[in-house]
Symmetry: C2
DNA sequence: GTCTATAATCAGATAGAC
DNA sequence: GTCTATCTGATTATAGAC
């Protein structure tokens, strides 16, 4: 049995609100109300509205990095590894489109210190994709002119899902992730 | 010689502010101040903050649709046409990253009526890309399993530029647009 | 750990002088 | 068409009772 603390209820309420209205468009009253609490209760469990955003953002980044890191380690075959990485990264963004929207679009709303901390996760995600492409080129299996640019473009496919994806739409998360994985292989495979 | 009206100065100020702080995070006082005017002056030339957003959004959509429509008409060769469409669409998003950010990320902040009007432009953009892919498949030059999905993914590459692109960075708009065009051809070409 | 009440500030929009 | 001054209501965050 899972016990949800008041602190966690507020985080879940913040995720809903930030994803729907944006950070600046969300009031602490809205967060409290979604969690079934009074406006003052927010400040018992969290320091500020920005610290709620940081909590959501850092956990989201950690989770996305974890997903792509595991996929990178899932195979040594460059094609299979690339397919896994793109599939899992896109699937994560579809399955977590609300958190993903906050992670991507409210990055600028973080304080300078918090933004710097989150930035290290972003660089790790990019480096993981770049390393996988570079290794595939070294093995002679992939043909990629611009490794950093192509890595970024592959990640873009997944990231851009958070702009519009909603569960229950005409395409499933799995369909989209599979499509992206197929496109990725065509983009990078040596012919 | 070009005369800039007060109305246009306010629109330019709104573009700066909305792109930097988001619609909800921007105050009408900020817009007025950037235009070198008093808070009240905003309402002499525009009905509301939302109507300023609508003006920016509709013009941005019109411009982006225009760019991709012209590119679609620039060639009948499916490969050259695809290259032009992706290059021009991505170039537009890099060269107009501030307007593009507003177009993409503040779509939900429009009133219901205004959002419906803008939505027709979005559908036209998607249809233009889908038609180009479908025609290339018919001609036997392209090989695309999922035409709507691939069309959307190609547009995503350009759209996602607005999330991070700033002029003067390590990559030029032209470099990024060329990269996207190359990747697009690899994604869709029959082998 | 929850609440009600409130402080202090700031928001969008308007009135009316010049 | 511009300004200063202001209305009305909302906002983040805190104080203090229970």
């Amino acid at each position: 049995m899972t016990t949800i603390t008041a602190r966690e209820r507020l985080i879940n309420a913040a995720i809903e609100a930030f994803a729907e209205k944006g950070f600046a468009g969300t009031t602490t009253r809205d967060i409290a109300s979604r969690a079934g609490m009074s406006p003052a209760a927010v400040y018992v469990h969290h320091d500020s509205k920005e610290s709620l955003l940081f909590t959501v953002s850092i956990e989201g980044h950690r989770s996305a990095l974890d997903v792509i890191t595991r996929a990178a380690a899932s195979s040594t075959d460059p094609i299979e590894r690339l397919r896994s990485m793109v599939y899992d990264f896109s699937l994560w963004h579809a399955d977590n489109s609300r958190v993903g929207r906050i992670v991507q679009y409210e990055y600028h709303a973080l304080s300078d210190e918090h933004r710097a901390e989150v930035a290290t996760y972003r660089r790790s995600i990019e480096k993981t994709m770049q390393d996988a492409l570079a290794d595939g080129v070294d093995q002679g299996v992939l043909d990629v002119d611009d490794v950093p640019g192509t890595a970024f473009s592959l990640l873009s496919l997944g990231v851009d899902l958070v702009r519009w994806f909603e569960p229950g739409g005409s395409r499933s998360a799995d369909q989209l992730a599979s499509l992206h994985a197929d496109l990725a292989v065509r983009m990078a495979r040596r012919t």
